[in-house]
Structures are given as C-alpha cells and as structure tokens.
C-alpha cells in the first residue's frame, strides 16, 4: 500500500502550478519601487544601531548607574533613559533604535518601582515625579549586565563537528532575530531560523528559544569575530568543519 501511496503522493505533488504571466513584471515593478528607499533605510538603521551601542557603553562607563537587579525589563528603560532622558529626567518609553530590546513598558517596569532607580541624568524639573532620580553606584553585577548588549549571556559553548551549540540566556524579549543582531550582523549568512516550541512567539520572554543558524564555513571566522562583539565570552572550542560547505549553529535562549 505504501508504494501506491507514495506513487500517488508524488503524482499529486509533481504537478506544477504555473505562475501568472505578469508575475515577472510585478516583481520587477516592486524592485524598482523598493530600490531607491532601500539603501538610505539600511544606512540609517546601521548608524542608529551603532550610535545606540556607543551610547550604552558611554552610560555604563560614564555614569556607573543601573537599575535594581531582578527587574529584567527595567534594565532596558534605565539604559535607554540614561541615554534618552529628556531635560526633566522623565523616563523614555521608546526603545532605542537598532536594539532588540523589549519595549520599555511602564507597566512592567513600574512593578519594580523603576522610579526609585538609578538615573544619573539631569535633576528633574518641577514637573518630574518625586523620587525619580536617586543616584547610587551600580553594583559590579549590574555593571556586568550592562556591558552585555541585548542582555545576553553565554552560558556554555560546545562544538561538535559539524555543529556548534551555543547556549544563551536572554533577559530581554527579542523582537526578531534580525533586530537582535542587526547592529553587528554576526549572522550575515543566516539561512534558517526555527523557534522551538513552534508556537513560541519571539516576544514571549518566558519561553525557551532555540535557533538553528546555518552559516557558510568560509564565513566562519568572520562570523565568530562579529558574534563575539555581541556576545562577549563567546568561544569556539572546536575547529570549523574542513570540507563541509555549511555548518549548523544551534542556539538556545532561556530567559532568566
């Protein structure tokens, strides 16, 4: 029965669907429209991403302030606010460009009394809320967290040919894989992503994410170098495959 079944399956699937005759024209028309807008947008996204990263680094080393540990979502608003606070020292709720940080949510942040938190920005004006800026030095743990862009920490790395497994913990929600690594693009050759369990949504920080990335061996070194900028401590224990053209990188995201 299986032979007949397979045969019928093949017959059904091999029958082709012909595309509309105008499809080429439609595609080329879209490309002509997209093309002029593409480069400027990508350029500004890139500039914004780099600027955002530099600002965060400046905040960490310049102000030494940070939010209370344990408030995963609150870390973002503090970092962002230190970078983007207005003259009144009011918290900015807008996520900084180029970062895959979850949106600074007043509701989420408020649960941890973010107003008490450390904002070494300008003193609030008369319109600022009481207790908005109370300066205190960041703890070493908080500083370490701030140093790690996107809140990712590398837990373990094991490599077995032809795969490399990298385990991460994400303290922030991840909007999209592209956003997460848009600034430094460690996965320029990212070919396939897969979220497990399949029903997981990227924005759900309470679930475990697993991403399988396939990259070209030829780009391995370049990828590793750029990945280490985003993921400090990332190491490669094994050698890249010698004669394979692709390599799987399995990455697990486990929220704290």
């Amino acid at each position: 029965m299986m032979d007949k079944f397979d045969q019928k399956l093949k017959e059904a699937l091999l029958m082709r669907d012909d595309p509309p005759e105008t499809l080429t024209n439609q595609i080329m028309a879209r490309i002509r429209v997209e093309k002029p807008r593409k480069n400027p947008m990508m350029l500004w996204v890139g500039i914004g991403s780099v600027a955002a990263c530099l600002l965060i680094v400046a905040v960490v080393f310049g102000t030494g302030t940070f939010t209370r540990p344990g408030q995963e979502m609150a870390k973002q608003p503090a970092a962002e606010t230190a970078a983007y606070s207005d003259e009144d020292g009011n918290l900015a709720s807008k996520a900084s460009p180029g970062q895959a940080l979850g949106k600074a949510d007043e509701k989420t942040a408020g649960s941890g009394n973010i107003q008490d938190r450390t904002l070494e920005s300008k003193p609030p004006s008369g319109s600022a809320e009481p207790g908005k800026t109370v300066s205190r030095p960041a703890t070493p743990e908080e500083l370490e967290e701030l140093k790690k862009p996107l809140g990712l920490t590398v837990d373990s790395l094991a490599s077995t040919l032809p795969r490399i497994d990298i385990t991460f913990k994400s303290t922030n929600t991840i909007q999209s894989w592209t956003d997460a690594y848009g600034a430094t693009k460690p996965f320029t050759s990212l070919i396939k992503t897969e979220i497990i369990p399949k029903e997981s949504k990227l924005k759900d920080a309470k679930k475990t994410y697993k991403m399988t990335a396939t990259i070209n061996t030829a780009d391995y070194r370049a990828w590793l170098e750029s990945a280490q900028k985003v993921l400090p401590g990332l190491k490669a224990d094994g050698k890249p495959p010698a004669d394979t053209s692709v390599m799987n990188v399995v990455i697990y995201f486990e929220p704290k």
């Binding site: 029965m1 299986m2 007949k4 079944f5 397979d6 019928k8 399956l9 093949k10 017959e11 059904a12 699937l13 091999l14 029958m15 082709r16 669907d17 012909d18 595309p19 509309p20 499809l23 080429t24 439609q26 595609i27 080329m28 879209r30 490309i31 002509r32 997209e34 093309k35 593409k38 032809p162 320029t188 050759s189 070919i191 396939k192 992503t193 897969e194 399949k198 399988t212 990335a213 396939t214 070209n216 030829a218 394979t244 053209s245 692709v246 799987n248």
Partner: protein, 198 residues
C-alpha cells in the same frame, strides 16, 4: 555535506555577475533570474500555502529578498539551493504572520467522493481519493516542519541532499521528517476517507 547536483539554468558565476551589475545600478538584469526561477519559487509557495494569491505575494517577497541579498550568494553553491533556502525562510515567516491554516473538514466537503461497493478496502478508497487537490489540502494540515520537507523533497530536480541544504538540517533529519510526514498524511487521508468505507 554531499555536493549538490541540481541542474542549473542560471550558472552560479552568472548570478555573481548579475549581482555585480545590480550594484552598479543595472536593476533590470535581475529579471533574468526572475524569469528562470519564478516557476520554481511559485510552485513551492503554492504547495506550501495552498493559495495562488498567497503564492503570488510570497513569490514577490522571495524575489525581493533575493534581490536585496544577492550579494551574499557564494558561487561555490548551486544557486537553486541558495534560492530554495531563501524561499523557505521567507515563506515560513510570511505564513506565520498570516497564520494560514486549513481545517481537515474542508478536505471531505470539497471531495466529490463516491463510495464504491461494500467490498472496497479502506486503503483503496484512500488511494482513489488522493487527487491532487486532496493531497494538497492534506499537506496544509501538516505541521510546518513536515509540510515544508514534503513540498521541498517533491520539487523538480531536488533530492534529499539538496533538501538538506535548503532546510539547513542533516540528510538524516530530512529523511526522518519525510517519513513522519508520509505517515501523518496517510493518517489524515485515512481519517477523512477511511471512515467512508462500508
């Protein structure tokens, strides 16, 4: 990984030349790639989504992405497998956003089923009703990972090794998913048509 052996229409080196010309502003040369591979991409999108309209949108999205990423293509791989990979990832993201699904009930409703005499076996009924339309609808009921492997493995000029490259998984994984997909399809068709045996 084993070497791919898909028959090429547009040679890898030609794709690289086209990518170079696009960088210099010659956008129109991309039409050659579109013409050569639109059937391949459209067929894949159609099988995956079950809808011509969606497949048309999806094909446009795929080629738009190909256009933007053409500079990343390395000629040491067959272009069709790289294109297939782009089509696969683009399709998954697109369909997840649209959350397209097909309910199994529609399979039986649309099928002009004619029950034969009482001696007909369930398996024969299933085989008889494995029309192109019903098979495609049954495929749409499959989970994404099984659906894509079935569609990719039955495309023109694509074998297990090529599918493994497109999906970014080992060949063993492709084979096991294909096996599971066939079993699931059989169950789906059995549930739909097997109960009609007298």
């Amino acid at each position: 990984m084993k070497a791919l052996h898909i028959i090429l229409t547009v040679e890898p080196i030609e794709v690289t030349e086209i990518a170079g010309r696009i960088k210099k502003g010659d956008t129109e040369c991309f039409a050659k790639i579109v013409e050569e591979y639109k059937g391949f991409v459209f067929n894949f999108a159609s099988q995956l989504s079950g809808s011509r309209e969606t497949a048309t949108d999806l094909t446009q999205e795929v080629f738009l992405r190909v256009f933007k990423q053409l500079g990343l293509y390395k000629p040491d791989h067959p272009f069709k497998s790289w294109l297939g990979r782009v089509a696969y990832t683009t399709s998954l993201n697109y369909l997840r956003k649209k959350r397209e699904s097909v309910h199994i009930e529609s399979l039986a409703v649309d099928c002009p089923l004619e029950v034969r005499d009482g001696s007909m076996l369930t398996e024969d009924i299933i085989i008889e009703n494995m029309t192109r339309e019903n098979v495609r609808k049954a495929i749409l009921v499959l989970p994404e990972d099984l659906r894509t492997v079935v569609v990719i493995c039955h495309m023109d000029g694509v074998d297990i090794a090529d599918a493994a490259v497109m999906l970014g998984v080992p060949e063993g994984t492709v084979k096991s998913r294909l096996f599971r997909a066939r079993e699931e399809l059989r169950k789906i068709l059995e549930r739909t048509f097997g109960s009609l045996s007298v």
